[in-house]
């Protein structure tokens, strides 16, 4: 059974590793020294934090746009009685990376990502044909730099 509260040391590990992880031969040893832990203790903690679901990812985060592909945010107004069917139809596309239900007239919000940017419009057209609903594409025109972290 996963713990429901993070201990003080785990909390420091989560906060510190959000800031970054070294690109060196022994990165856990370097990070562990800053935290006052041993290398193997830190490796064990990160493994447990991942297994218990405190961390969703650990490693490099890639920017799909910079890889020459494309991404867009997209939104739809889905009638409540069709919501589950439409969610299945949208999610069935492998290019749909995230999909969230949100409280608004536009009540389904998803991200379409593809290595081939021209594929984005193909997926949107397919979703509109399959669901009979309009898709509003909202590709980013500018990304503002952010520094936010989640304090554990």
């Amino acid at each position: 059974m996963a713990k429901h509260v993070l201990g003080e040391t785990d909390r420091r590990v989560v906060n510190a590793l959000q800031e970054g992880f070294p690109l060196t031969e022994r990165p856990f040893a370097v990070a562990a020294q800053t935290l006052g832990l041993s290398e193997t203790d830190l490796i064990d903690r990160v493994r447990r934090l991942r297994e218990d679901g405190w961390l969703t990812r650990f490693g490099p985060m890639f920017d799909a746009d910079r890889l020459g592909g494309g991404t867009t945010l997209a939104a739809m107004t889905v009638p409540e009685e069709d919501y589950e069917r439409v969610a299945e139809q949208v999610n069935a596309h492998p290019e749909v990376a995230h999909n969230y239900a949100r409280e608004h007239a536009l009540n389904m919000w998803f991200v379409i990502a593809s290595e081939r940017s021209e594929q984005i419009n193909t997926v949107i057209a397919a979703i509109e044909a399959e669901t009979g609903l309009s898709v509003y594409a909202m590709p980013k025109e500018h990304e503002f730099f952010v520094e936010a972290r989640f304090e554990a």
Binding site: I43, L55, D65, V90, H142, E143, V146
Partner: protein, 165 residues
């Protein structure tokens, strides 16, 4: 427009991305383990990841917490209708607020969607997230003509971005 041009990557970069996009191996020499999978040296993996970090293909090498587990259960997409001639400057200021995790300029779709500035805020309650939205409203002032907060009620899919899917 400040969208950076695509950065050319080669087949070895692609193999490194595929070998690490689900996460780094949890061992003393994780880059050596990746190197073994990819078929290059450990130093080559580190050099290429550094280069991709400098080119912003890699945003960060870091841990990403499950913010729901940490108690941030109120996740609001705040959206704002901001004057076009002020939105780049004001959006930069919004991005610098410590509680904004993503912020983008996106196209409007009038009349259904008048909003052009997006900022994700997170709180341990909706009241806390609403307070953060009020700080953004104060910062935008008269340049903003309307806003909404769209709280997520359900994750329908979350697979992340995958190369070669």
């Amino acid at each position: 427009m400040t969208v950076m041009p695509p950065f050319p990557i080669d087949e070895i970069d692609r193999r490194i991305i595929k070998a690490t996009q689900a996460g780094l191996p949890l061992c003393q020499r994780p880059y050596a383990a990746v190197a073994g999978d990819v078929g290059v040296s450990e130093g080559e993996v580190i050099r290429r990841l550094r280069r991709m970090l400098e080119a912003r293909i890699v945003r960060r090498v870091a841990a990403v917490p499950n913010h729901y587990r940490l108690g941030y259960v109120a996740n609001g997409m705040t959206v704002w209708d901001v004057d076009d001639d002020a939105v780049l400057e004001l959006g930069s200021a919004v991005g610098r607020l410590p509680f904004v995790s993503h912020s983008y300029l996106r196209p409007r779709h009038r009349p259904a969607w008048p909003y052009n500035l997006f900022a994700m805020v997170h709180g341990k309650s909706r009241a806390e997230a609403d307070e953060k939205a009020a700080v953004i409203a104060g910062l935008l002032g008269d340049a903003c003509h309307g806003h909404a907060i769209l709280y997520s009620t359900r994750i329908l899919k979350k697979t992340g971005l995958r190369l070669g899917a």
